[in-house]
């Protein structure tokens, strides 16, 4: 579209807020400005007329006289040009097209004041599309420190749009920016100033931008390159093949240590809170199906999910802090050298790292990978990374294998992580040679300036990801918990004679020996639960499916544990706890009872061979419905999650079979 074909600005309806788009290059401080404008109340939602989930926030644009104008501001992904064949460029071009279904009322372009040529060319490309525009000259404080000065009047005249100096990090110039937005909205799309390129050709836009910068920007480093030996040394060290790798692993070790060390306190608090809530419900509601549903289904399901929230939030908080320092971009190159041998791009390391907390945010973060095959390969292998939900299973089984030998148990724990990583790399290599052919695209990445990270931005990222985690996982897990509760609670089964006999004995001892009576009552309750589980729909399903898992050394209880874990891995421990009649009041008691439980024929439920088989299965199998739903959403096809389910579970079965029979052959039963 030429500048002569400017469209009218769509009038805002009284009832709905006007819509503004926030556009800018990567590392321009766009997200910091978004958070400054909207606070921490932004949400990620599907944008009307597109298939993309974007961050949307609300703000009030002050009026010169009268009421403030309610506005919705959409944070578009960082982009370099509207003309590139990349998802973020195509999305922005689509939203700014002359025939867009939901055209914006205005656009705010965030420009890095220390490097103006590139963002000014982007602003010019948007200005020529006939949209009311304001340019926020961000990081003005940094530019001033570097001795750069600006003729804002000349910049505004050249572009035909207000240009406002701001520092999003410090909150400087925000009021002026909002006033300029109001001015631009009231004025509508202005007549294009003379000299603005009519074509969207990159060379024309850049030539225009360079001439405007030369005439409007002064200072020692205005258009030249700044030399900084400290930055050179840091870059050389962080991207060094050996030193860079050592630093990367040290940083990651510190990150994981922080997650496990710091998150344990809020995790304990959450568990205690839900336990108290469950206890309170049990005390106020009469025994029956409703109480069981609330305590066993609702409270149990929610607590099992929410308990991982601190780790998720903390992980994103720390990763965002790291990203904000500028280090992660350098680390991406270090990992690129390793990952590219297996067909994965360097960009994949953040999603793979994130997947150690939970595969869902890891898969969501693959959106930063530009190439479709690179991205899908990363999505396919991300769930191999050992997530938090596997931890209870690892604790149970490594503790069983190496009782009172914490160092050996720790090594086994580490081996689980390594096995997952090796499986991910091997599967990626296979995928790139078969279903997603090609090699990963060599990395090209802007290296942002080193700076002090913003706690505000990190907090916003942590809150947003935490909410998304709860929204995505909580709903699915909750539904599954209800179903599992129903399957294990029905049909109701009469108490076994042994339980009735124990209860009768307890009644006779109630007055003479209350402690012994309590023990008998507890034992009777366990027998009731066990009978109920055996006769329930869940128990029947477990027995029906037992032949599929018997070659791995599992009986019907372990089979049912594995099957219920396809909803969520952490369910294994709670399922086994119920099936072996564990005392749910004590976690140590739960683990001990599972580890010492027996099968129907009196043989041990877990042997070393069975435990290793189960451990291998849980490392490799795709046992998370929420992840599958997320993969479906991200790939927009059921083909990929079903393929992932078949591949991971098939591989897990074969590896567990090999481990079990290998150990049996070695005489380790």
């Amino acid at each position: 579209m030429s500048v002569a074909e400017r469209r009218p600005v769509p009038p805002a309806r009284e009832s709905e807020p006007i819509r503004l788009l926030l556009v800018g290059n990567p590392n321009s401080g766009k997200t910091t400005l978004f958070n400054r404008l909207c606070g921490l109340r932004a949400k990620t939602a599907n944008f009307p007329g597109t298939t993309a989930d974007l961050r949307i926030g609300r703000l009030q644009v002050p009026a010169s006289a009268g009421e403030a104008l309610a506005a919705e501001i959409v944070d578009l992904p960082g982009l370099y040009s509207l003309d590139l064949d990349l998802p973020e460029s195509k999305l922005a071009a689509e939203l700014l097209a002359v025939d867009a279904a939901h055209p914006p009322a205005g656009v705010v372009v965030v420009a890095d004041a220390t490097n103006l040529v590139r963002p000014l060319a982007l602003a010019a490309d948007i200005a020529r599309r006939g949209v009311p525009l304001v340019v926020a000259l961000n990081m003005i404080d940094l530019a001033r420190r570097r001795g750069i000065s600006f003729d804002l009047g000349h910049l505004s005249l050249s572009l035909g749009a207000p240009v406002v100096a701001v520092s999003a990090r410090r909150g400087e110039g925000i009021d002026t920016l909002l006033a300029a937005v109001r001015f631009a909205l009231e004025r509508g799309a202005p007549k294009a100033p003379a000299g603005l390129p009519e074509s969207g050709e990159a060379a024309d836009l850049e030539a225009w931008s360079e001439s405007v910068v030369a005439a409007s920007v002064g200072g020692a480093h205005a258009v030249g390159s700044a030399s900084d030996t400290l930055i050179d040394r840091l870059d050389a060290t962080f991207t060094h093949p050996i030193a860079g790798l050592a630093i990367f692993f040290a940083v990651m070790a510190a990150l994981f240590w922080s997650i496990f060390a710091v998150a344990s306190v809020p995790m304990d608090l959450i568990e205690a809170t839900f336990a108290n809530l469950g206890g309170w419900i049990e005390s106020v509601l009469p025994a029956g199906a409703v109480r069981d549903l609330l305590v066993g289904g609702l409270i149990g399901g929610i607590s099992g999910t929410v308990v991982f929230l601190p780790q998720i939030c903390l992980l994103f908080f720390l990763i965002t802090l790291l990203e904000d320092t500028g280090y992660l971009a350098r680390a991406a190159f270090v990992m690129d050298r390793l990952l590219c041998r297996f067909g994965l791009p360097g960009y994949a390391f953040v999603p793979l790292l994130t997947s150690h907390a939970c595969a869902i945010p890891g898969i969501l973060s693959t959106r930063l990978i530009p190439d479709r095959h690179d991205r899908f390969t990363t999505i396919l292998v991300a769930p191999f990374q050992s997530c938090s939900a596997r931890l209870p299973v690892y604790v149970l089984l490594t503790g069983f294998l190496f009782p009172a030998r914490p160092a050996a148990a720790g090594l086994a724990f580490t081996a689980c992580y390594l096995l997952g990583g090796v499986a991910a790399l091997g599967s990626a290599l296979l995928a790139r040679r078969t279903i997603l052919p090609g090699s990963s695209r060599p990395m090209v990445l802007e290296l942002p300036s080193y700076k002090m990270p913003s706690l505000r931005v990190a907090a916003a990222a942590a809150l947003e990801q935490g909410w998304e985690f709860l929204r995505t996982v909580g709903t699915v897990i909750l539904a599954i918990c209800f179903v599992m509760w129903w399957l294990s609670a029905y049909p109701t089964t009469p108490a076994p004679p042994a339980a009735l006999e124990l209860e009768a004995r307890a009644a006779t001892l109630a007055e003479t020996d209350p402690a012994a009576a309590d023990l008998l009552v507890d034992e009777a309750a366990h027998l009731r639960v066990r009978r109920q589980q055996e006769q329930s729909f869940a128990g029947r399903i477990g027995r029906a499916l037992e032949p599929a898992f018997a070659p791995l050394g599992y009986d019907w209880r372990l089979t049912m544990g594995v099957v219920t874990s396809f909803a969520a891995r952490e369910v294994l421990v709670s399922t086994l706890a119920v099936l072996v009649g564990a005392d749910a009041d004590s976690e140590a008691g739960v683990l001990e009872r599972i580890q010492s439980a027996t099968r129907d024929d009196g043989s041990p439920l877990l042997t070393p061979a069975t435990a290793v088989s189960l451990l291998v299965f849980f490392v490799l199998a795709m046992q998370c419905l929420s992840t599958l739903v997320t993969v479906r959403r991200e790939t927009r096809s059921w083909k990929w999650p079903l393929l992932q389910l078949a591949w991971m579970t098939g591989l897990a079965w074969i590896a567990a079979f090999a481990a079990y029979h290998g150990l049996l052959a070695a005489g380790i039963a």
């Binding site: 370099y80 040009s81 003309d83 590139l84 064949d85 990349l86 220390t114 490097n115 040529v117 590139r118 990159a202 060379a203 850049e206 480093h221 258009v223 030249g224 390159s225 700044a226 930055i231 050179d232 870059d235 050389a236 991207t239 060094h240 093949p241 971009a329 350098r330 190159f333 690129d336 050298r337 590219c340 360097g346 695209r441 060599p442 990395m443 090209v444 990445l445 802007e446 290296l447």
Partner: protein
């Protein structure tokens, strides 16, 4: 951006071989169109002035006050012409 092998000055060298600290101009780009357009959008246009800050894998170049990391495979397909040293 199409490939620009033609017209490479005889003095041109692959960016991957340009010593650190030597100012140069981008003379040719032998990358597929998508990568070439991305580089151009990032500021690495034909004729743009650049300096290698760290040579290796990645090659880190500074162009218009922005540092860009390029995998060695990319840097090897960019041809630059060193600029004469300032008097």
């Amino acid at each position: 951006m199409p490939e620009h092998r033609a017209g490479v000055p005889p003095a041109g060298v692959p960016l991957a071989e340009l010593p650190s600290g030597v100012p140069a101009r981008l003379a040719a780009c032998a990358l597929p169109p998508l990568e070439a357009k991305l580089l151009a959008a990032m500021g690495l246009t034909l004729g743009s002035r650049l300096v290698v800050r760290t040579q290796g894998d990645p090659t880190i170049v500074e162009v218009r006050a922005t540092r860009i990391g390029l995998a060695r495979a990319v840097a090897a397909r960019l041809t630059v012409v060193a600029e004469p040293a300032a008097p």
